[in-house]
């Protein structure tokens, strides 16, 4: 088994306009590796939703990407407020985003459901007041 390719991104929580730079870069790397375009698209959308979430809700965080021979793993780690009710947060249309976020085109309550939809595995570890780690896997074979 060869070692995975690992990339770590700092997600700036103060600048909504630059959110998505990590996803853009990950997408570029996946393209260079010659992965299937639909797999790249799914991983990129999930990562982008996660990045937006970290900026909207958690003042940023860290995105760790590991590309294995058979899968892409994305770990999104933040030290934000945590999610009090994960099941509720996972339901489509539920959002705690502020009105100004909606004016920017986000906060429709589709982020987490979308991340689950586009990935093969997703787990959420969260503690109120401590932060949230979302782990996502997209299989490539």
């Amino acid at each position: 088994m060869s070692e995975p390719i690992r990339i770590t991104y700092e997600v700036d929580g103060e600048d909504f306009m630059s959110a998505g730079t990590a996803s853009t870069d990950m997408k570029r790397v996946l393209r260079q590796l010659g992965l299937d375009s639909e797999i790249i698209r799914r991983a990129a959308i999930a990562m982008y939703e996660g990045e937006i979430n970290m900026v909207i809700h958690a003042h940023g965080g860290v995105a760790e990407v590991a590309i294995y021979e058979d899968r892409i793993e994305m770990n999104l780690i933040d030290h934000g407020p945590g999610i009090p009710d994960v099941e509720l947060a996972m339901s489509a249309g539920y959002s705690t985003a502020a009105e100004n976020i909606r004016e920017l085109g986000f906060g429709a309550g589709m982020g987490l459901p979308n991340m689950k939809k586009y990935t093969d595995e997703m787990t959420i570890e969260t503690e109120v007041g401590k932060g949230t780690t979302v782990r996502m896997v997209v299989r490539t074979v």
């Binding site: 306009m17 909606r102 085109g105 982020g111």
Partner: protein
Amino acid sequence: MRKGLMDMTIREAAALLDAEVLCGEDLLDREIASACGSDMMSDVLAFVKEHSILLTGLLNPQVVRTAEMMDMSCIVFVRGKQPGEAILELARSSGIAVLRTEYRMYAACGKLYAAGLRPHASEKI
């Protein structure tokens, strides 16, 4: 299978919308298979298939990021919205054509629909 539907090029869409091409002149002969009109990027990320055109009145760089993640090749800003240079630069680096039309959302979508560009068959929720 797609009886009654047709693909069109970005150039043809631009002509139908009397649109100004703001960037991506070299991409105008790309085919688009579908279109989506929305100011809510969350919904675009949830429902849209690739090779689509995105019509929006929302004006911020996340419109370009969204189109990029979705593998969309063209953004149309409706209601005469004029994107700034930061948005156009991001679009250029992402290989996305940007158009601007004076038509409002409903009319712009209607013109493309009437010309045969349809949503994906699975679009009804």
